[in-house]
């Protein structure tokens, strides 16, 4: 437990992805089985332990320490688990040995609430402050140390000799403490395959621009719309279904209205959308409507009714027992179409192919496509097998031109990790009319978005210097800037939003150009943005 506690402690302070990887890898190298497998499961959020009520933990503590002192301490520390971990009276360690992580998990899993409390108090006696904190976090079910399942698996891959893609494919066939899986990753025998529910890493595309087309032959490629949803993979086998995000996170729980229509055995690639069916046509809703679904881990019936989930299919990795991945896209597409034609499924449809004879025709089609739900075009080489990752020369994304506005920098905050000494996170705003207290018309800036990227290192240094010299006020870590610097921001689309003061939300805003030359009063108005709502 001590090693695991030290890992959680270090992770909780480590902002950088690489640093986190290093820490987990180091842990996997030093921790014994089965503890390290349980640790991985905990980091991936896969341990189901009985949840202990905060009030019960508090009562257990007050039975041991002066309630008045506990009260002052809790007020000061602010976090219950941390307060208990720190205030827990130290006992004679000789009579209380620290528990192993595997003991904690295995016994807690089978224990009822009352028994769990007795176990907890016994274990707390055997641990130091960091160990107690980690134990309480584990029992609370939320580690909150900024590690995703993907990151934990990446660290496992770095620790051993097996690629991340292979680990992800194997992962769902195993259960905590993953002893067999870890043995394989560490250089042992590959476990026998059991089913097809695992995530297969996706084939990814490269960005392309109009000028690149001259080097490509039109009839080598198929064209599809690039849908403005999120990329997903659905895997169904033996009556079980998993829906994975592009990073391989299992998001099945959030889309039961899609899952319930799965009656097939296949692994399919496509776009998750919100789409409404009107007399035989499927109408794709804006990304904003999908965002409302993505925000909910457990959607309520009303939301599922108003924002129904839909999957638009564009590739087939496996159908039935046939692994189609080695086949060229031309054949995979035929298999997919034949399979769908056999029995169309509600909530699923195929992404249509766009017919075109030459590039100029495609350029025109793309320019006309401003419909909601379309983000641009995809070009895929007919001969490409399904290869995990971003392989050169096979798939290209040709995005719709980004939208831009000129906005004024309003607030700045420092970044994280390597950027922690730089002001790199900016809130920017546009003008809108107001009437002041004397009834005179004027203008005020309202925030419309936040951007953290799009500048070069050199520009970042210059921005940072500018922030330090143009701060007019501070609120905690936030610097309020003199409204004097304009930048051109790029974004993919704009939506109405009740969360922001401006009533608008931008999708993927980033710096395009810093306009050191442009006076702030020449920045755009909120009204200009409203006209761009998709």
């Amino acid at each position: 437990m001590q090693l695991f506690a030290d890992l959680l402690d270090a992770l909780s302070y480590q902002p950088a992805r690489n640093g986190k990887l290093r820490l987990i890898e180091d842990y996997l190298r030093h921790a014994p089985d089965p503890d390290r497998g349980y640790a991985l499961a905990a980091l991936c959020g896969e341990l189901e332990l009985p949840s202990l009520k905060p009030a019960a933990l508090r009562d257990m503590t007050i039975a041991r320490v002066d309630p008045e002192l506990f009260g002052w301490s809790y007020d000061y520390v602010g976090d219950l688990a941390e307060t208990i971990a720190l205030i827990w009276p130290v006992t004679d360690r000789a009579t209380h040995v620290p528990p192993r992580l595997s003991d904690v998990v295995e016994r807690l899993r089978l224990a009822g609430r009352a028994e769990a409390m007795i176990l907890m108090s016994d274990w707390l006696d055997g641990l130091d402050a960091t160990g107690r904190w980690a134990l309480l976090k584990l029992a609370a079910g939320a580690l909150r140390v900024g590690v995703s399942a993907r990151l934990a698996k990446t660290a496992l891959s770095a620790f051993g000799t097996v690629g991340l893609e292979d680990i992800e494919e194997q992962w769902p066939q195993h259960e905590p403490p993953y002893t067999e899986l870890i043995r394989w990753v560490a250089g042992g025998e590959k476990p026998a395959a059991r089913n097809t529910l695992g995530f297969r890493p996706l084939m990814l595309s490269h960005p392309i621009e109009e000028s690149d087309l001259a080097n490509l032959t039109p009839h080598d490629f198929c064209a599809e719309w690039k849908w403005d949803g999120i990329r997903v993979q659905i895997a169904a086998s033996d009556g079980q279904v998993r829906l994975y995000s592009r990073a391989g996170e299992d998001i099945s729980g959030a889309f039961p209205d899609l899952i319930e229509h799965v009656d097939f055995e296949a692994v399919l690639d496509g776009e998750l959308l919100v789409a409404r069916r009107t007399d035989n046509a499927v109408e794709v809703a804006s990304f904003n409507d999908l965002q409302q679904r993505l925000n909910r881990k457990k959607p309520n019936p009303a939301l599922m009714l108003s924002n129904p989930a839909h999957m638009r299919l564009y590739d087939a990795l496996i159908i039935g027992n046939d692994d189609l991945r080695p086949l060229p896209l031309r054949e995979r597409r035929q298999h997919l179409e034949a399979w769908y034609a056999q029995r169309p499924r509600l909530r699923f449809d195929l992404s249509p192919l766009i017919q075109f004879a030459n590039w100029s025709e495609l350029v025109r089609l793309r320019a006309d496509a401003r419909a909601s739900g379309i983000e641009g075009l995809m070009l895929k080489r007919w001969e490409s097998p399904y290869i995990a990752g971003r392989v050169k020369g096979h798939w290209f994304k040709w995005k719709r031109d980004a939208l831009t506005i000129d906005a004024v920098l309003m607030y700045a905050q420092r970044g994280h990790g390597k950027r922690s000494s730089f002001y790199s996170d900016f809130t920017f705003g546009c003008w809108r009319p107001i009437v002041d207290e004397h009834g005179n018309p004027g203008r005020e800036l309202v925030p419309v978005g936040k951007a953290y990227s799009g500048f070069t290192d050199e520009e970042l240094r210059r921005l940072d210097r500018w922030v330090r010299n143009n701060t007019v006020d501070r609120f905690g870590p936030v610097r309020v800037l003199s409204p004097a610097l304009v930048a051109e921001f790029e974004f993919d689309s704009v939506h109405e939003s009740t969360r922001h003061k401006s009533g608008l939300a931008l999708r993927f805003p980033r710096f395009h150009r810093i306009r050191w030359d442009k006076p702030a009063n020449e920045a755009d108005e909120v009204e200009t943005l409203k006209k761009l709502i998709s």
Partner: protein, 335 residues
């Protein structure tokens, strides 16, 4: 008949005043006669008429404020008795930093001890706290809550050495208070067997040099000025806590930011300090040590000055002693 210290030792706006002796202890504004417990800025200020303190504290004040920081100085050895008016005073080690002292005051058949800032842990850079039996013990309460338990220093220093192995391409940038913490962390690193040069931010150099001239051996030290990130890979660099996250730190490339302070026990404080490696190393007592000290000096009455007084007073009262808050302004709880 014994004259209780409450009649001759009084909190005033400028600090704790001893009437029959005619002097203040650690006054926060210029006074005629002062006794200074130790060299930290909130206790030792410039501009007094006559200052009595240990020779080390006077030397520290000289480095910080320049010679002439007081009209007249008087150095006192630990254990040496000095009459001031109707009061006899004596300094005893406080174990806080080099030169730090408790002030033992005797008057009217009673003895009061003003402990200043103190700690009970072993510190290779100064002699340990000596408990003195007394009628009234005056204590700080910087870490006066039962959540503060400083772990053993060895483990905290071990964290730095482990991080060096884990991140061999990065420097270890440790934020330390310039006086006391800096030199103690160096000394602890040496005891842990670290014998490479330790690099110092400019703001730490003068006081560290003073420690060396006072006979505290700290091993090879070097200035970090002019070094480039490639030269500092896996090296240990000390700087004031405020320099972490400031423009200056960029010269280290991508350092592992560490902060050595008792406050690092609290996660929110560690995050606020931008520490990737919070090191719980304190020059003050933790909760148990505060209570242990009250038992050791066995005073029937305790006055609690700066820090989290209420909890400590409550806990002392539970042991059957009298305890009360003594509000003194001007002391910070930084370390």
């Amino acid at each position: 008949m014994a004259l209780h210290p409450q009649h001759w030792l009084k909190p005033m706006p400028g600090g704790l005043y001893c009437e029959p002796g005619g002097f203040f202890i650690d006054p926060s504004r210029p006074v005629d006669r002062a006794i200074v417990t130790h060299g930290h800025g909130d206790h030792a200020r410039a501009g007094h008429g006559k200052v009595a303190a240990t020779a080390e504290t006077l030397a520290i004040m000289g480095v910080r404020y320049g010679e002439g920081f007081a009209r007249e100085t008087q150095s006192l050895s630990y254990g040496e008795r000095l009459g001031m008016g109707d009061v006899t005073i004596m300094l005893e080690p406080a174990g806080h930093i080099l030169g730090s002292a408790q002030v033992v005051l005797e008057h009217g058949g009673c003895r009061a001890v003003v402990s200043g800032d103190y700690k009970r842990r072993f510190d290779p850079t100064c002699p340990p706290f000596t408990p003195v039996k007394c009628d009234v013990f005056i204590t700080e309460a910087t870490f006066g809550l039962p959540v503060f338990h400083h772990p053993p220093d060895k483990g905290e220093i071990g964290k730095v050495l482990h991080a060096r192995e884990l991140f061999p391409d990065r420097s270890m940038l440790v934020g330390v208070y310039a006086l006391g913490k800096c030199q103690r962390v160096i000394a602890l690193l040496r005891r842990a067997g670290y014998d490479k040069p330790i690099y110092l931010h400019g703001a730490l150099q003068a006081l560290t040099q003073l420690y060396e001239t006072q006979g505290v051996r700290l091993g090879p030290l070097a200035s970090v000025a002019g070094m480039v990130p490639a030269q500092l890979k896996s090296e240990i660099v000390l700087c004031p806590p405020s320099a972490i996250g400031e423009v200056w730190s960029r010269r280290m490339g991508d350092p592992v930011p560490a902060v050595a302070s008792g406050w690092m026990r609290i996660r929110a404080r560690a995050r606020q300090a931008r520490a990737e490696l919070p090191l719980i190393i304190s020059d003050h007592c933790d909760w148990d040590e505060l209570l242990q000290t009250v038992r050791d000096v066995d005073a029937p009455e305790v006055w609690v000055t700066h820090g989290r007084e209420e909890a400590l007073i409550h806990a002392i009262q539970q042991t059957g002693r009298r305890a009360r808050a003594l509000s003194l302004v001007g002391y910070e709880d930084e370390e």
